[in-house]
């Protein structure tokens, strides 16, 4: 191999980066809806773990990754519902209830795995689907159009989320509820309902992100398979300034750095691997530090909604 990196490795790094962006995109887009409605859910990581296990287990039992996806979506919805119940209905401190949800998801998924599976077991996960014609384009085809269905879903969700947020009535309600819930309330928009819906959607997308790890990437389950991706996803929401395109940018930035560092290790590229390993995190921290601004945050973020008690 001449020089630093050959073109083949470059393509592999890019394609892997696109694939690795998937869980971040799914989880962060879900969290974006949650935060846009004025709640922050720190339990994303726990939901991802549950989704990862549920997807894995259903696939293992029935041999159908599609069923795995459906089951994990259902589990995610349920986890979102729990978060909504605690933080919206009971108005618990959101940071604490989120951490609680994270630990709950971690503990339960680990427990279930030990109870019903036990050791390393591999499954037949999702297969890459090469998109006809498009995947034949040199370079781009390999990088973008030869992935499994969850990768495509995640990337399609970017423009879709934008449309939902900015063009639909539901999106308008979400933006209103997250910025000035009192105003939405006086106009008959139910703050509670919107926040429930967002938490459920956010939960489903987080679980899907988890399922991607088991049935779309590793084809197995291991304890702590999410490895902090749920927390990174939350950081990416801030980095992306609560916009789908910003989140796309952040996810790609992080996953490309991640892909690069794993290639450095696997292929023995001439680059100090100690540096490479910290690269994704460095990139995130630096990007957060220079981009973070409270100005873009939904104004009611983190504040439980209560109607005034006295006028």
């Amino acid at each position: 191999m001449e020089g630093f990196m050959s073109i083949d490795i470059f393509i592999i790094i890019l394609a892997t980066g696109v694939r690795l962006a998937t869980p971040f995109l799914l989880a962060a887009l879900g969290e974006m809806f949650v935060q846009r409605s004025g709640v922050y859910n720190l339990g994303v990581e726990g939901i991802m773990m549950m989704g990862a296990f549920a997807g894995f287990f259903a696939t293992l039992q029935q041999g159908s990754p599609l069923l795995g996806i459906i089951v994990s979506l259902a589990i995610g919805a349920l986890m979102g519902l729990i978060m909504a119940f605690v933080s919206v209905t009971f108005k618990a401190e959101q940071g604490i209830s989120g951490i609680g949800l994270y630990m709950f998801g971690w503990g339960l998924s680990g427990l279930l795995f030990r109870l019903y599976v036990g050791g390393v077991t591999s499954i037949d996960g999702l297969k890459p689907i090469a998109i006809p014609m498009l995947s034949d384009i040199p370079l781009i085809g390999q990088v973008l159009f030869n992935h499994n269905v969850l990768v495509y879903t995640a990337f399609l969700l970017v423009p879709l989320s934008g449309i939902v947020l900015y063009k639909t009535s539901w999106g308008l309600n979400i933006r209103a509820v997250g910025n000035k819930p009192e105003a939405a309330d006086t106009l008959g928009v139910s703050v509670v309902k919107i926040r429930y819906q967002c938490l459920i959607v956010g939960g489903m997308l987080a679980a899907l992100a988890g399922a991607f790890l088991t049935i779309g990437q590793a084809n197995m389950y291991a304890d702590n398979i999410t490895a902090g991706r749920g927390f990174i996803a939350i950081a990416l929401v801030y980095f992306g300034r609560w916009s789908p395109w910003g989140i796309l940018l952040g996810s790609l930035l992080f996953s490309m750095a991640d892909s690069f560092q794993s290639m450095v290790q696997v292929l023995g590229i001439n680059f100090p691997y100690e540096l490479a390993v910290i690269l994704p995190y460095m990139v995130t921290i630096i990007a957060l530090a220079i981009s973070y601004g409270r100005v873009w945050a939904p104004a009611a973020l983190g504040k439980p909604f209560e109607r005034g008690t006295r006028g």
């Binding site: 639909t168 009535s169 309600n173 000035k180 006086t186 008959g188 100005v295 104004a299």
Partner: protein
């Protein structure tokens, strides 16, 4: 479209909150085309009554009749369906959405929002009543007066023909207030009914056909506006004769105690909020800062108090430079500060009264000795302050958060004035206070003035400024438009200056 409201009657309305009887068998009546003013001090129960009509609260007793039929209004959306619209005192607009989005919020039942059709209907409404507004503008870009118009449009768009306005002119310039009065009259003439909640006598006199006066949750009068006078209403509202505070004695200023030279400072959003402000305040002087809020008042108070950095310019306090010093150093040099947000900046809400009273002196004698708080000294000081300033509280341990706005202001005032400042900055000290509390505050400011304190009074209430100030400066977009003796400051001149017309 629902039946038009020809007649509204609320009868026997009673609403109890923990510890307070907010409305006690209140009756009001209203006919189409009429403007009814509900007058009362803060805490008299006006807003509660209207929140009941708007479905935000349920009454404990009493009924609401629309066109003679009894109705139950369980939520704002039910009120809207019946044709009742409300313009809240604190606008219920989402700043990050456009005018159009705000107007149709909650109405759009289709999957995609149809902003085009909405914009067209908004234009129809604005044309009917002569309300100019750009539907595509974001609400945060609009002036307060424009935001209020959006609120009115929002109600009309929903088919409201009974409009409730809660203290509508509190935040407007005199010109904007006049425009609003004309608009409301026009709307009433076209057959709409209007209920106006207010504690401002002049606006009640100017707009309403009839006045219902509330005091301590009870209706104490119901009169035709034409058959009453401002004085009579004031007496009814407060329950005693009022003697408005006036500046007395000659204007005999001493040496300069606070001076600003070409002060520039940035606002929270990073744009220039103060653009070269120069002012002088002398002993025995109250200098008023007039202007629509948001023109640099907040920043002005903060740079003087050391809470905001100057980007250039100088401030000197009591003859010594205080530019960009820390708040502690500035306090030490003798500045008193009554902040705009009296609850969160003026006090620590969860702290008790005695703690708040010694906030600026807790570290030194007589309140602390060898870093230990001297309880007995503090308590005797605090109880004498509570007595002297008439702070109504169960005991000294009560957190200030539980006091009323007027009493919190008394705590702040007691702390700031007792420290014998050379200069005092008071930002909107009477905002939201009722007549009684306002009167008290004015008397205390005047007392401080006669004791030699130089006072900078920031206010948007022209009556307040002209009644107690010696000089008035008008602030517009971070610049002082003009400084003039109070005798030259009539409403028209100031109104124009406040709108940036020199």
């Amino acid at each position: 479209m629902v039946e038009k409201i020809k007649q509204l009657e609320m009868s026997g309305i009673t609403k109890r909150f923990p510890g307070v009887l907010s409305n006690n068998r209140v009756n009001i009546q209203l006919e189409a085309g009429e403007v009814l003013a509900i007058l009362g001090e803060n805490g008299a129960g006006k807003t509660t009554l209207m929140n009941i009509l708007y479905g935000l609260y349920q009454p404990d007793a009493g009924e609401i009749l629309l066109n003679g039929k009894q109705v139950r209004i369980n939520s704002p959306s039910e009120a809207i369906e019946l044709g009742i619209g409300m313009v809240h005192q604190h606008f219920m607009l989402v700043p990050t959405l456009t005018v159009c989005e705000n107007v149709i919020l909650g109405l759009s039942k289709k999957f995609f929002v149809d902003l085009k059709t909405a914009a067209k209907r908004i234009k129809e409404i604005t044309d009917t009543y002569g309300l100019a507004i750009n539907p595509e503008a974001y609400v945060w870009q609009l002036s307060v007066g424009e935001q209020q118009r959006v609120e009115i449009i929002k109600a009309l768009y929903r088919g409201a023909n009974l409009l409730i306005l809660d203290e509508p002119t509190a935040v407007l310039t005199p010109q904007e207030s006049n425009e609003l009065i004309l608009l409301l009259k026009n709307m009433a003439q076209q057959g709409n009914s209007i209920i106006l909640i207010s504690h401002k006598l002049n606006e009640v006199m100017a707009i309403s056909d009839r006045v219902t006066v509330l005091r301590d949750g009870v209706v104490c009068a119901n009169v035709k506006t034409q058959e009453t006078t401002q004085e009579e209403l004031a007496k009814l509202m407060v329950g005693r004769e009022m003697a408005p505070c006036r500046r007395e004695g000659n204007y005999s200023p001493g040496k300069i105690v606070l001076e600003l030279q070409q002060v520039h400072a940035k606002g929270d959003k990073g744009s220039e909020a103060l653009a070269g402000v120069s002012l002088q305040i002398r002993e025995n002087e109250i200098l008023g800062i007039a202007g629509v809020s948001g023109n640099g008042q907040k920043e002005l108070a903060e740079v003087i108090a050391g809470l905001r950095k100057l980007s250039s310019g100088n401030i000197s306090l009591n003859g010594k430079d205080s530019t960009n010093m820390s708040p502690a150093e500035i306090i030490e040099q003798g500045l008193g500060y009554i902040p705009e947000d009296r609850i969160h900046v003026g006090t620590i809400p969860s702290f008790s009264i005695w703690e708040n009273l010694i906030l600026k002196d807790h570290h030194r004698l007589p309140f602390a000795k060898y870093s230990l708080l001297q309880n007995r000294k503090i308590m005797s000081h605090s109880s004498s302050q509570v007595e002297k300033y008439g702070i109504k509280t169960p005991d000294l341990e009560t957190p200030t958060a539980r006091l009323s706005g007027g009493n919190i202001q008394r705590v702040v005032l007691a702390r700031e004035i007792t420290r014998n400042p050379v200069a005092l900055v008071a930002a909107y000290p009477t905002r939201g206070l009722d007549i009684g509390a306002t009167e008290y505050l004015h008397s205390k400011l005047l007392e401080a003035r006669s004791n030699g304190v130089g006072i900078l009074l920031i206010s948007e209430d022209l009556e307040e400024l002209t009644s107690i100030c010696d000089n008035i400066a008008v602030l517009y977009e971070g610049k002082i438009m003009k400084v003039m003796p109070v005798e030259e400051a009539d409403e028209r001149t100031m109104g124009l200056l406040m709108a940036g017309i020199a």
